[in-house]
Symmetry: C2
Subunit: 230 residues, 2 copies
């Protein structure tokens, strides 16, 4: 059985959980606080980040970009029903570009800071940066969300799915990233109807279910978070 | 003909130039200052980062991770002489992990800050952050270099090349990243003989030549930078 070291509010972890769900792979989930820098976890991944997937032989695969290419090579592209990459190299390039956009760019500009200020700092010891949220950091991060959501809305309005007419890894990556912000009630859906329609469609997939039932200590999800038709 | 928008002191740009060199692909190089946020460049890549490769039909491919997978799919893995990925998925995962390590982690923790403080800030207008280097930022970034070099040395001491017994994309990515720091004289090679031996071997490859003849305005490369046997 595979083991996934993850964090419930990490976009990259959610992305891998969605892929495992789509492939019907059961994995043991182990929750990891990156900020705790647990010795045994650093031995698996010296970079110290989730997600880390242990394969059947306990070989660690570190980072969402490594893991999804690996899962695609071992479970995905070979089977017709699990194709989340288009056939042509330019289409695959577009999938990889959007994966990077939502898992790195959105994460670095907004999500990571909001999660850290609102959630992690309450649990972190003072000595390593715990404490009250910094409202200036929160404000800056929040300013960065609407441009990303407008971009997503534009993509959704011009295509069935984010790349092409078929669901791809880019949809799973974007939805994973958006779901963290939506869980925290940070998204105003009203001005972005095409993105909302896209998100409702992807949220209804069975692979999404385990994300919707996540509980994070001390946090109540935004009211519509689990609504499939919000 | 392909066109590559690059920056001489960007590890990711150098990585793609090395791959183009290994494949014997001639591309028109256009130097781009990310900080200038040139309108025409942002239209190609809204993320605003180099490298961006225009394919034969002027389709833009953005970001080193997108470009190298694309070049591998279109020029690499099909041909025996251009194989920079191992056969097995776990080996490929290790290549991707190390690419991320050197192009993202080392870049974020050290290289980006050193290049910005020492080089870019001299050319940037004051209004967008130009001016004298911040010595505290430089000091912090420099502190982060030795752990990366020790890790590289450990990898080089235990394997012929970074992954396996064959040269792979991981060697090209690491060498690209290291070459920026070496150009700026930021690496102390004395305590890391295995890394030094590896770097001399990879620096001797014809693909490396164009990197060694780069000129950056106002900067003299470190004395041994172009020495193949330093």
């Amino acid at each position: 059985m595979l083991t996934l070291f993850h964090s419930p509010l990490s976009s990259a972890s959610r992305f891998i959980r969605l892929i495992l769900g789509e492939y019907g792979i059961t994995a043991q989930l182990i929750e990891e606080h990156e900020w705790a820098r647990r010795h045994e976890f650093l031995a698996l991944n010296p970079a110290g980040h989730v997600p880390v997937l242990l394969d059947e032989h306990e070989v660690p695969l570190s980072g969402a970009f490594v893991i999804y290419e690996y899962l695609d090579e071992t479970h995905g592209s070979l089977r017709q029903e699990n194709k989340f990459f288009p056939e042509n190299p330019l289409g695959r390039a577009e999938v990889r570009r959007l994966n990077d956009w939502f898992l790195n760019k959105l994460e670095t500009e907004a999500t990571r800071h909001i999660v850290r200020e609102r959630i992690y700092k309450r649990e972190m010891p003072l000595a390593i940066g715990g404490g009250a949220p910094n409202s200036q950091i929160l404000r800056n991060a929040r300013t960065n969300i609407p441009p990303h959501m407008n971009y997503l809305n534009w993509l959704c309005a011009s295509r069935d799915w984010l790349v092409d007419s078929e669901l791809s890894y880019a949809d799973l990556a974007a939805a994973a990233a958006i779901s963290v912000l939506d869980f925290l009630g940070e998204i105003d859906w009203e001005p972005i109807p095409a993105a909302k329609d896209w998100y409702m469609r992807i949220k209804s997939r069975p692979s999404f279910r385990s994300l919707l039932t996540d509980r994070v200590r001390g946090i109540v999800a935004s009211p519509h978070y689990t609504d499939l038709d919000f």
